[in-house]
Every structure is written in structure tokens, then in C-alpha cells.
């Protein structure tokens, strides 16, 4: 369900926030996924490590983002198509942009979704996309922003810039 959830301000333009963050991320004119990784790593100030989950028992997970002591890990399922995997990895990078973008990257009148305090019990965040399970309004708002951002980045990065979602999802 992608409609407005409780706690989301009626005037909050998700797409406007997403567009601002995507277009303010410093990338070369012709950018690859690697360029985005480098830009996010510099912005976030941490080493990024990607890996794939090969276990066939994975059913619902499309991406995992975690902070280890010396790096930030991003895991996606090995079985996904190249396009879907690209979207999932980009989605996780977008979370890092949302967390670390300078305040002035956000359009006037909007704000960064609240992040859990470092000692919050909510450091484990599960974000089911098609469920009403997520009752933390700020988690839901961030999820909507990064979903939009990931789609927009497919237009900024050369790999899939000239394709449509319909080609990949049918």
C-alpha cells in the first residue's frame, strides 16, 4: 500500500523531496552505478560493501542495509533479475542519502524523516512494503521517499536510462 499513512503531513511532497535529493547527489553527466556508490560513500563517510544472499529460502526480503563496525553492508538476493537487483541496491543507497544529505538538499518546508536515536530499541527496522505492519510513520515516509528516489536514479544512471519499468516487470 503506497497511499498516505497516519502521521504523514498532507502537504508533504514525497516526489519533490525525492527529486531534490536525486538531482543534488553529485554525479558525472554520464553516470554508472559505481559513480553513485562512490558519491554515497563520500556523502555518508563510510565504506560500502555489497553482497548477495544465495540462500533459496529467501521469500520476501529484497534488500538489507546494516551498519557494521567498519563498513556499511548492503545485501540483496542473488536470484533477482539484474534490473530488480539494481533497484534494490539503489534503494538501500537512497536510505543513506536520506540519512546524510545536508539539510539544504531538502526543499523548503520539508524535512528529513526522523531517524531513530543511536540508543533506540528500534535500531532494527523492518520495512514491509505491502503491509500495514509498519506503524512507525517516519519509517513509512522514508520508505516512500527512497522508493521514489530509486526509480528516479534509473533515469540518472546510464544502465537503464532508456528503458521503462514495463520492459522489466512486464
Amino acid at each position: 500500500m503506497r497511499g498516505r499513512r497516519q502521521g504523514q503531513a498532507a502537504h508533504e511532497p514525497i516526489a519533490a523531496i525525492a527529486a531534490a535529493l536525486v538531482w543534488r547527489t553529485p554525479l558525472p553527466d554520464v553516470a554508472e552505478f559505481e559513480d553513485l556508490c562512490n558519491a554515497v560513500s563520500a556523502l555518508y563517510g563510510r565504506r560500502l560493501v555489497f553482497d548477495e544472499i544465495k540462500d533459496a529460502s529467501l521469500r520476501a526480503t529484497t534488500g538489507i542495509l546494516f551498519e557494521a563496525e567498519t563498513f556499511t553492508g548492503i545485501l540483496v538476493p542473488a536470484d533477482d533479475s539484474n534490473y530488480y537487483s539494481f533497484l534494490s541496491r539503489t534503494h538501500e543507497l537512497c536510505h543513506l542519502i536520506v540519512r546524510s544529505a545536508p539539510e539544504d538538499w531538502f526543499p523548503p518546508g520539508t524535512a528529513r524523516p526522523h531517524q531513530p536515536a543511536p540508543d533506540s530499541r528500534l535500531f532494527l527496522r523492518l520495512c514491509p512494503r505491502n503491509s500495514s505492519e509498519s506503524n512507525d510513520a517516519e519509517s513509512v515516509r522514508e520508505e516512500l521517499i527512497v522508493e521514489e528516489m530509486a526509480r528516479m536514479f534509473t533515469r540518472r544512471l546510464s544502465a537503464y536510462a532508456d528503458t521503462t519499468e514495463e520492459e522489466h516487470f512486464g
Binding site: 540462500d55 529467501l58 521469500r59 520476501a60 538489507i64 563496525e69 543511536p118 523492518l126 512494503r129
Partner: protein, 221 residues
């Protein structure tokens, strides 16, 4: 529970713990190390000289991979008792511990008490040390558990032992994942998924994260 029944249960628990020790092939020294209970305490419990507390029972069982509820059920059967509230107390104690571990508060329960007392005071609840210990032992009052559930950010029904079984299993898995992640030094984790993660899938995610950390930072002792 009558004094006679209580004594019968203590004796039966000691017997079941001795049996579990045999099955696990663990000596008292090793068991003490794993459970963080002194070896002389374990000796006294095993010999029936001292009743085992709920927290000790949970720790002893976990240290050898036994299920505390099953062990209590075996002990009750051995003693010819029908336990209602006793089992409930163990469930609640077990869940309180897991919630505290997931929050990184179990290793120092005194510091955890101070934090909980401070948090609850903001809502007008003055948490006493006796109440705190009752919560850890699975015997906290309904209102106290609700207040501490809010502090621990865990559903109150789960801590009260009232959540449906499938819901409880899912929360068990979530808290277990959080506990495991803390032990690996992970400070934040977000999972994007198409639906709620089932416990088996959480185990797969945990395993994948552990493997990547081992690869990048070396295995933890």
C-alpha cells in the same frame, strides 16, 4: 502452590536439570561459565539444597540448548503437578530477558534498572527495585509490564504471555535477530521486504550478515 508441592517441584527440577546436564555432556564448571551462574550455586541447585530461580532456570537451559518450558513440564510431570501460573512466569521471564538482550540491557541489569526507572518516571511511574526484579523474574504486575513494554519498545501482550503463538514466534525471531546483531557490533539494520519476514527468513538474513562481517572484519570469538 502448597509448601509440599513447591518442595516436590524443586526436587523434580533438580532431577531434570541433572538429566539435562547428562544429555548435554557438560560439567558444572563449563555450565557455570556458559550460564554466568557460579558453579557452587549450580551444585546446590543440582543437589536440591537450594531452589532454582526462574532466571537461573532460563539461563541454565539456554546454556545447554534445552527449552526451559519443556524442562519445567517434565519436572511438573515427574512431581505429579499441574502448573498453570508457574509456566506462565517462565514464559514471561524468558521474554523479558530476550527483550533486554535485544536492547543491549541484559549485561548490566543494575544499569538497565536505572535507565528503566528514569524512563518510567517521565510517565509518573516510580519503578522500585523490587518491581524491576519481579519483571525480570516474570512476575511483574500487569501495569508494570505495560510500562516496561513501552520502554523496551516490545508489545506488552508479548511480554505478558498473551500474544498469539505465531505473533510471539515472530517477535521472538525479531528480538533474537536484534540480539545477534548487537553481538556482532551492528548498530543499525533495516530490512526491505515485500511482506513480514517469517522466522526462518530472519535466520537466513542473520546468517548472511554474519558471513559478510566475518569476511570483512574476521570472525568473532
Amino acid at each position: 502452590m502448597s509448601e509440599f508441592s513447591a518442595q516436590a517441584l524443586h526436587g523434580a527440577l533438580a532431577a531434570e536439570l541433572r538429566a539435562a546436564q547428562g544429555v548435554a555432556h557438560v560439567n558444572v564448571r563449563a555450565w557455570a561459565e556458559r550460564s554466568e551462574i557460579t558453579h557452587d550455586t549450580i551444585y546446590r541447585v543440582l543437589n536440591g539444597k537450594r531452589p532454582v530461580t526462574v532466571v537461573e532456570l532460563v539461563n541454565l537451559c539456554r546454556a545447554i540448548g534445552d527449552d526451559p518450558l519443556e524442562l519445567v513440564a517434565r519436572a511438573a510431570k515427574r512431581a505429579g503437578l499441574d502448573l498453570g501460573d508457574g509456566v506462565d512466569e517462565i514464559v514471561r521471564s524468558d521474554r523479558a530477558r530476550l527483550a533486554l538482550e535485544a536492547s543491549g540491557l541484559w549485561d548490566n541489569l543494575d544499569a538497565a534498572y536505572t535507565k528503566a526507572r528514569s524512563a518510567l518516571s517521565k510517565t509518573g511511574h516510580l519503578l522500585s527495585l523490587r518491581e524491576w526484579r519481579a519483571f525480570v523474574d516474570g512476575a511483574g504486575s500487569h501495569s508494570l509490564v505495560i510500562a516496561l513494554a513501552d520502554f523496551l519498545e516490545v508489545p506488552a501482550d508479548y511480554l505478558l504471555g498473551k500474544a498469539p503463538e505465531d505473533e510471539a514466534q515472530r517477535i521472538d525471531a525479531q528480538l533474537g535477530l536484534a540480539r545477534s546483531m548487537r553481538s556482532l557490533g551492528v548498530t543499525k539494520i533495516a530490512a526491505r521486504s515485500l511482506d513480514e519476514l517469517e522466522p526462518e527468513e530472519m535466520a537466513t538474513v542473520e546468517s548472511a550478515i554474519r558471513a559478510l562481517i566475518d569476511k570483512e572484519e574476521g570472525p568473532r570469538s
